[in-house]
Subunit: 162 residues, 4 copies
């Protein structure tokens, strides 16, 4: 089994700069790399650091890039790490890809945090991608959602089936 991980950014990757005068958190290397280094994977993988943006900042052009990366991929199992705020929009953009399994996931707390949900969420995506048929999915809060049947509760932030 081979999986391509595409980094687009989001909370999952947010880190704190080591310099002085550091106000914001920065998105740097893909958190998924640190997670995979730790779990001794029995599958092959590649990591493509495509974008490093908060998902509120993704433009139509960025979504085109993500789509193109999926189309061009020789690997047919793709996990995209993404900010949770506009993850459903990006999933909708990818609906034209019919010959791959694509799962989008992210995290509510950066992987750097000791109480992060990042490792768990990546695990959920990897567990599901072992089994799923071709299609576009979102993995959050331990559930696998078809991209057309998911919405987000604006109060709790939780993803739900619709």
């Amino acid at each position: 089994m081979k999986i391509l991980f595409i980094q687009t950014g989001g909370t999952i990757d947010k880190d704190y700069p080591l310099l002085t005068r550091g106000y914001p958190f920065e998105i740097t290397e893909p958190a998924v790399q640190r997670i995979l280094e730790n779990i001794n994977p029995a599958f092959d993988f590649e990591i493509l650091p495509l974008l490093q943006k908060d998902s509120l900042d993704l433009t139509e052009e960025d979504r085109e890039k993500i789509l193109q990366a999926c189309i061009d991929s020789a690997v047919n199992k793709i996990i995209i790490t993404h900010g949770t705020d506009t993850i459903i929009e990006t999933a909708q953009k990818l609906s034209q890809v019919k010959d791959k399994v694509i799962i989008l996931t992210g995290a509510m707390r950066p992987e750097r945090f000791s109480n992060s949900d990042a490792g768990f969420n990546i695990g959920v995506a990897i567990g599901a991608i072992n089994v799923l048929d071709n299609g576009i999915y979102i993995a959050m809060n331990g559930k696998i959602f078809d991209y057309q049947k998911v919405a987000r509760d604006s109060e709790t932030g939780k993803f739900l089936e619709i």
Copy 2:
């Protein structure tokens, strides 16, 4: 979606006693409880703390208990946390259960460890259980194995498809 988590013990649950003169690590509460408290699950679940043993210490009687708990379960999605040393043996014992999805998983490092694989492995099992048909499976190292098609590399400790 509802999942029953059955605790049998193993490295995943190993903790350090808070007393003086503490030699060994103890297995106490199910680590899966701490993991689920942290990830805001979009599914219902129950946790059954059935056994708290290193898997090298499981007896035939213990495996009968695990089998009976699976048979008796009203919930048809079951994740069993288990020591990795004899996880395949227990999976084989469960082969007679035909009407449920049962995934056995564990961890190489206790959930208490800052670099544990526990949260990731539980995530893999939960991701897969969203999708799998009835059967008995093992989830380790990011892969889902049919219980009849898995072995363990005695040198590296990694699980592989056979």
Copy 3:
């Protein structure tokens, strides 16, 4: 031994909001509280959540508040958690306090981070406050500096004796 901990903010306390659309990191409860809950202290303490600001945003009025809190304190051992960017300025403001031991410290990475220096730095301050005579000090990078004899390397961010 009794210690008063005064929270003023800084990286040490930075956390991630649990809501959607969360851009910035927030300063909420004092991180020192979480640290002390974990180490079974053999001393008494109070925590005063005075300010929750990045130290670049501290005003002269804020520094007056910090000074007043130190003067008013019945406890004569005080540890102030503070952003590292202007920690020396605040220390200089406190020079008029002659009858107490005051140590200012902070962290380069939030206490929420799994690789944070927060717990260590608080430990350094507490270890020193067991022993120090009255005066104003900064504890960073494992060293105790007299407030008049410390500067910060603008490239590496490390504190050094001058």
Copy 4:
């Protein structure tokens, strides 16, 4: 400032072996090394991995080794990481060393644990060693104890001044 860290073992260093069939926790590399790698020290140091034993297993011969290492040290600030069960005994053995500051510390939970007190305790020892006069001390629970004036509460495990 230069500090010599001497590893003797104890809970602080306990780790989990990566092999199969791993019952016990092992003491391997000194945890203090991992802690120091993380905090950007403004002091020089050496680490001497002298022993790797649970402190209940230390023999008179082992304590002689520890004493000799302290006597032979060219560095006059020494921090010894040690199991908490017999830390007072070892401190008493070192009482003949008059020309150095020696602080013994350890941890109730391994440094590998996400909720470990190890980093904090090492911090307390380092903070105090910046300031203390020659003598033998124990640093636990945030307090610095003269080796002749400390005992341990056998129920709570906490160290107290006597």
